[in-house]
């Protein structure tokens, strides 16, 4: 089922050693996200979700196992401009305006920001920050900063999109709006998405499959398919079938 151009992790293990402490962050984690699929990872804090993502992005190297992004090594995929990323922490450059922050991936990929001005503006509008293009990160709220990070992740129209709790600092209403928007963008671009989240409902609403992880050592305990039709609409949040899936995931999450 692993299409060559999705995200494929096979038998990935990672142990952190430092200051006399050894943390087995990941043990034998395998994950296959077919091209164009939407996968959510959910798990308790510290179970290694961010580590999975950082390994898939090539920011961290696995001790063992293999990683393929769209059939290529993570760094190759990154250089080819295939990947997009939004971190748990907005990680904005404090001296750059909102617009110039959104342009960072373009600059890294040696694309001329002036050729993409319309997209940059569209992305900023999409996350509801029209009018704040020239503000500095220090002048924005936490949620606004995170929205800048989301716009930045989308600006390259990535084939493979990684998101680490991108909506963590947003209020519930905005979060649902962004969920709907994200689904729309993902469907439009046909990208492969990997979303790390703490929100079960968010995971179920967005994902084709929800990967549940447990901690110490970090490992995948179950992969749950989410069968609902697309496009999914906000009323789904109050559907009984939706709640049954959520409840099942909550059980697995709590070790049931």
């Amino acid at each position: 089922m692993a299409a060559p151009d999705g995200i494929v992790l096979e038998g990935v293990s990672k142990t952190f050693r430092g200051r006399g402490k050894v943390v087995e962050a990941l043990r034998d984690v395998s994950l296959a996200c077919p091209s164009g699929s939407f996968t959510a990872i959910i798990g308790p804090s510290g179970c290694g979700k961010s580590t999975v993502m950082r390994i898939a992005l090539g920011l961290e190297t696995a001790d063992s196992g293999s990683v393929r992004i769209a059939g290529e090594a993570p760094m190759e995929a990154a250089r080819a401009g295939i990947t997009g990323v939004a971190f748990q922490d907005a990680a904005l450059l404090p001296w750059r305006s909102v617009r110039r922050n959104v342009e960072v991936p373009l600059e890294v990929l040696r694309r001329r920001p002036s050729d993409h001005a319309a997209e940059v503006a569209a992305m900023i509008g999409l996350v509801g920050l029209g009018g704040f293009e020239n503000s500095l990160p220090g002048e924005l709220s936490g949620g606004m900063r995170q929205r800048v990070a989301i716009a930045r992740a989308l600006v390259t129209h990535p084939q493979v999109l990684f998101m680490d709790e991108p909506f963590g600092a947003l209020d519930q209403i905005l979060r649902r709006q962004m969920n709907v928007e994200l689904q729309r963008i993902w469907a439009e671009t046909g990208s492969t998405a990997l979303l790390v989240t703490h929100g079960i409902d968010e995971a179920v609403f967005l994902a084709d499959r929800v990967v549940v992880m447990h901690a110490a050592p970090g490992r995948v305990v179950e992969v749950i398919d989410v069968p609902f039709e697309r496009p999914r609409r906000p009323p789904l949040f109050s559907d009984p079938a939706f709640h049954r899936v959520c409840d099942h995931i909550a059980e697995v999450l709590h070790g049931g």
Binding site: G18, R19, R54, L57, G58, L59, M75, E76, A77, A78, R79, A80, G81, T83, V85, F87, D89, A91, L92, L93, P94, W95, V104, P105, E107, V108, L109, L136, P137, G138, R145, T156, F162
Partner: protein, 523 residues
């Protein structure tokens, strides 16, 4: 900004008050029997001497500016190279520490012996600038937000992209803060080199010429002018720095675990590297002598110094004189350093606790502390005499300034969110200080300590050279008078060696303490 204006007024008021007190004390010869002339008398004397100043000021200004530009270019370039290549950083560590630690006064005679014309002054000014700027560049780059760097790497950005997009711009405030220390340093370097002799013009030359004539008002006039030059150069870069710091402050605390990178290469490689690190400064010393082509009689290679100190017929006497000088110099150096550092730390902490009170005091502190030390020493001699307390005060004043700037800068970099957290729980300003500001500024306290080590030695040696007639500074000055070239080189080498040793001791303590706290060194 009503608050700004208020503190500005308060600063002005404090300044006027001090000037008024000074005027009164001067008029009635209240301090040290007339050693402190009144402001009016100094100004009158400045006016009378006005024909002398332009050429002296121009000579000093020219040498400082040339040294400043050259030193900064070298510093930034080297900083970037060192930030990119740990190997280069390691191999040049010995050279860097030596350049940093060398008390300029110790090598001023050497430079005058080996270089022509204005070159010794430019070189000494550049040396004073190089290290500050180089370190600031490396610190700034290595402290860059690792999350932002991750983002650039996640898009396949190369090391150079990270440098270009994240690190260099992030380093600018630190580099600018470095420049404001570097600028007065350049002036100090230029004046110190004038001290070593050579040339008719320059404020240092003027000062030395006037020192013997017992004219306090002229000495003070020269001091005021030298301070003005150094102070203005500081102010210019402080202003620039403030403009940048506002927007470049990180908004959240960077929690990423810093990558410690001890050399994990094979043992043989590590040994070769260590040897290269130690040998490189000596090698460059040797190259310098060969390159300048100065005769062996005057220029001593490392081998010649070793020969003089251990194998020549004069070795015994030389050692004895050296030991005696060191025994006089070292204790007072240590004492002055500790005092200057404590003063700086307390003031930096207070500047966060009671910003307004300190703001009013700041202009005064800055003026006295940017004062080039050489200009300060004769004045202190007039007031304090030629005893030990003079040495101590000179040392404190020369260590305090750089330490304070480093600490204040470090404390200003503590992220807002981290400081506000305790406040949310109703913590007092002091608790906030204790829980966040002081621990977060610990790396800067160590950085400040490293910065003050050689300066303390410099302060002591200047006081010894100019006034007290004791210790290493005096030995150097004497040897200069007797044309005892071997001793000049020996004292220079030993002073630098001592400073390096001190410095390394601080580094070791720092590594241990910060390592335990999981913090990184502000390298």
């Amino acid at each position: 900004m009503a608050a700004d204006r208020g503190s500005g007024w308060r600063g002005l008021r404090v300044a006027i008050l001090i000037l008024a007190l000074w005027e009164v004390a001067g008029r009635f010869d209240l301090v040290a029997g007339g050693a402190l002339p009144s402001v009016g008398e100094i100004l009158v004397r400045l006016w009378q001497d006005r024909a002398d100043y332009p050429l002296h000021v121009w000579a000093t200004l020219y040498a400082s500016a040339a040294g400043f530009v050259l030193g900064n270019l070298a510093g930034v370039a080297a900083g970037v190279v060192f930030a990119l290549s740990t190997t280069a950083l390691r191999i040049f560590r010995g050279v860097n520490i030596a350049i940093f630690a060398l008390p300029p006064i110790a090598i001023a005679p050497i430079l005058v012996l080996t270089l022509p014309g204005m070159a010794p002054r430019v070189a000494l000014a550049a040396l004073g600038v190089y290290f500050v700027t180089m370190t600031a560049t490396v610190v700034g780059i290595s402290q860059a937000d690792s999350r932002a760097a991750d983002l650039v790497r996640a898009y396949g950005g190369s090391r150079r992209d990270v440098l270009r997009l994240v690190e260099f711009r992030g380093a600018l405030p630190v580099i600018l803060a470095g420049l404001r220390i570097a600028a007065p340093n350049a002036v100090l370097g230029a004046i110190l080199a004038e001290f070593g002799g050579g040339g008719r013009w320059g404020l240092g030359t003027y000062l030395l010429g006037s020192l013997g004539r017992g004219e306090p008002d002229r000495l003070w006039g020269i001091g005021v002018i030298a301070t003005l030059i150094a102070g203005l150069s500081y102010a210019a870069f402080a202003l620039l720095s403030r403009r940048f710091l506002g927007s470049a402050r990180a908004v959240t605390l960077n929690t990423a675990v810093p990558a410690a990178q001890p050399d994990r290469g094979p043992l043989a490689r590590r040994i070769v590297m260590s040897l290269a690190t130690v040998a490189l400064p000596f090698f460059l010393w040797w190259v310098f002598i060969k390159a300048t082509g100065v005769p062996d009689l005057i220029a001593k290679t490392p081998a010649a110094v070793v020969d003089y100190l251990f194998f020549s017929p004069a070795a015994g006497a030389a050692q004895e004189r050296l030991w005696a000088a060191m025994a006089q110099t070292l204790p007072i150096t240590f004492l002055g350093m500790v005092a200057g550092l404590s003063f700086a730390f307390i003031l930096a902490i207070l500047s966060r606790l009671a910003p307004r009170a300190i703001e009013a005091f700041m202009p005064v502190a800055l003026v006295t502390q940017t004062m080039p030390l050489v200009a300060l020493t004769p004045l202190l001699v007039l007031i304090l005499g030629r005893g030990t307390s003079l040495t101590l005060w000179v040392t404190i004043s020369v260590t305090f300034f750089p330490a304070f700037v480093t600490l204040a800068q470090g404390i200003a970099l503590v992220p807002r969110s981290a400081e506000e957290l305790p406040r949310v729980y109703g913590a007092s300003r002091w608790t906030e200080m204790r829980m966040v500001t002081i621990p977060a500024s610990l790396p800067y306290l160590f950085a400040a300590t490293r910065l003050t080590v050689p300066r303390a030695l410099l302060g002591v040696m200047i006081a010894e050279w100019l006034a007290t007639g004791r210790g290493l500074g005096n030995l150097l000055n004497q040897s200069r008078g007797y044309l005892d070239y071997a001793m000049i080189w020996t004292v220079a080498a030993v002073s630098v060696g001592l400073a390096v040793l001190f410095y390394q001791a601080v580094v070791m303590v720092e590594r241990r303490v910060l390592g335990r706290l999981g913090m990184t060194t502000a390298e």
